[in-house]
Amino acid sequence: MTITDRPVDNGVNVQALLDARNALSAAPEAAHFTWRASCTWRNGTHSHSTVAGFAGLGAEQQHRTTYEFDTDHPECFASEDNGATPVEFVLVGLAGCLTAGVAAVAQHRGIQLRSVTATIDGAMNILGILGADPHVRNGFEAITVRFAIDADASRDDLEALIAQSQKRSAVFDVVANPTNVLVELA
């Protein structure tokens, strides 16, 4: 950790997070959140998703605005490429989650960040989704995230920063660990 003259400001309100942790430990029912998205098929492999509301802190909550996302497949899959592929959205989610974690942990540890860039690769053998080889899984074979971080900190501190970010990341957990998934007809 480095002691600087100016207070560290990564734009993360760590005190609010710590207060929330204390408050929710005392009222654990408020800690139950439900995140939602809805998805409408457009045409072919193109779909349109929106994210607006979620439940948490014992009430319905709204984002500041409705966020919209198009998913599609690229032209080499004979699709129109109206948006990123769903698996790329998974990479976006993982990178966004880990990077937010890096900023929050850095703030908590007094590390001033100047820049953080994550590049993320997901290796996939598409023989799995094509059903051409029963021994190949549908999902990623492996995911690699590479962080380039410019900050007032030693390499050891930065290693600890990205390790802690993984430890506290929801999407890292979702990707690395099994989750029960229920898909049913409405």
């Binding site: 430990s25 600890a160 390790a163 993984q166 430890k167 890292f172 990707v175 690395a176 660990n177 099994p178």
Partner: protein
């Protein structure tokens, strides 16, 4: 109904230490014990188990180890012998074969139903220990029928296991020790590793507990620890009391042919799925170990010991095979035994007083159950300091809680 000032429940090291403190303060009391003194050490520990702490650290109020192996690690049978001798020396008023069925509040204190008797006490000390029942994942219901499942409380030695492969779930001291022991019996072992604490048995010529003590880690108070919940739930360090100091390091286990996989997530259609976070779990443990070794080096330097001690060094990072399997088919016949080494929990099901938090743990302030004056808790991890996790922690914990209990009694008289 028998009236008594204090009832201590449990005649393990903590209950006996408390008894000694109460005797020092001339507080009449009785120690209720479901079996015999050191019951869990007699009946619920596998024979090869040794204390993680070196013998010189085995201290209790009025007792210091004076044997001929201060640098050794006491086997379970030695702990039984030591506690039995201690109970006799301290003349502890232990009632053996006395099962406590209920403890509840009553006017002027507490009512305790033990065997068929009812006792009334002004104060109660809960010293039944942190290891009453195994913590087992809910996925245990999905373990295929032919597989034998065991816990550290039912494990005795490898000869009780069927032939075939063994999946050890959990990599605390228990998990790594049993993985190594079972592997030596010739059975192929897979070890599922979640969050763990890596430490070398010895560092710069001294036992790691010498360093933990010298640097002040063991003395850190509960009310000064940043994340107390985490500290109280930390798995025990991957150590063992054997001559080979690296016997239970993951790199050693790996080199001996034990297959290391990630944390067990779930079992679907008989297939166990392991977490892909193994590399980060190991990185976190390596980083934390190195932070402690750096603290040890700084301490040695500040105390002018650099010439006296062997030079500082670091252990090789934990090797994680990038092709570590994420699945293991439990129906193939390869695995015949699953051993849950996922921790042990206290059991206060007989405590009929609403002092539990949402996770079923007793709310307390350094062993003082503040919501129920006169009720105390002892012998739990990081109860008052990090040393509370180990036997010698009872020396200062029982001193502090004995003093608190005494002043509580005095305040009632006023």
């Amino acid at each position: 109904m028998m009236q008594i000032t204090a009832v201590v429940i449990g005649a393990g090291h903590a209950g006996l230490a408390m008894s000694r403190r109460l005797t020092e303060r001339s507080i009449d009391h009785v120690v209720l014990e479901r079996g015999e003194v050191a019951n869990s050490w007699r009946t619920q520990r596998w024979p090869s188990l040794r204390l993680l702490t070196p013998t010189w650290l085995t201290r209790l109020p009025g007792y210091d180890y004076a044997g001929d192996d201060p640098g050794g690690y006491m086997p379970a049978a030695g702990v039984v012998a030591t506690l039995t001798r201690y109970a006799r020396l301290a003349d502890a008023p232990v009632r053996t074969a006395t099962m406590v069925h209920t403890v509840r509040t009553a006017p002027g204190g507490f009512e305790i139903q033990a065997n068929d008797d009812m006792l009334h006490a002004r104060t109660v000390v809960l010293a039944t220990g942190a290891c009453a029942r195994p913590a087992i994942s809910a996925v245990t219901g999905a373990v295929p029928r032919p597989i034998t499942t065991l816990t550290p409380l039912t494990y005795h030695d490898p000869s009780q296991l069927p032939e075939g492969g063994v999946l050890v779930v959990g990599a605390s001291a228990t998990g790594v020790q049993l993985a190594a022991e079972i592997h030596r019996s010739g059975r192929p072992v897979t070890l599922a590793v979640g969050e763990h604490v890596r430490l070398p048995r010895r560092y710069r010529g001294r036992d790691i507990f010498w360093w933990l003590q010298a640097t002040g880690v063991l003395g850190e108070r509960y009310d000064q620890i940043d994340d107390l919940t985490r500290a109280r739930h930390l798995p025990s360090p991957q150590l063992t009391g054997t001559p080979d100091p690296a016997a239970t390091d993951l790199n050693t286990l790996n080199a001996h042919g034990i297959r290391i996989v990630g944390r067990l997530g779930r079992i679907t259609d008989g297939v166990a799925q392991f977490s892909g976070s193994l590399r980060n779990t190991c990185t976190l443990a390596d980083l934390k170990m190195n932070r402690f070794l750096a603290r040890a080096d700084n301490w040695a330097n500040a105390h002018g010991l650099d010439d006296e001690l062997p030079p500082a060094h670091r252990l090789a990072p934990t090797q994680v095979d990038p092709r570590t399997p994420l699945e293991l088919d439990l129906t193939s016949g390869e695995i015949t035994t699953l051993l849950w080494a996922t921790g042990l929990r206290p059991d206060y099901s007989w405590l009929d007083i609403p002092v539990h938090d949402h996770a079923g743990q007793i709310r307390h302030d350094g062993g003082v159950v503040t919501s129920t004056p006169g009720l105390y808790l002892l012998g739990m991890p990081v109860l008052r300091t990090r040393a509370s996790t180990y036997i010698h922690g009872a020396v200062t914990d029982s001193e502090a809680l004995g003093a608190h209990l005494h002043s509580f009694l005095n305040s009632q008289l006023r």
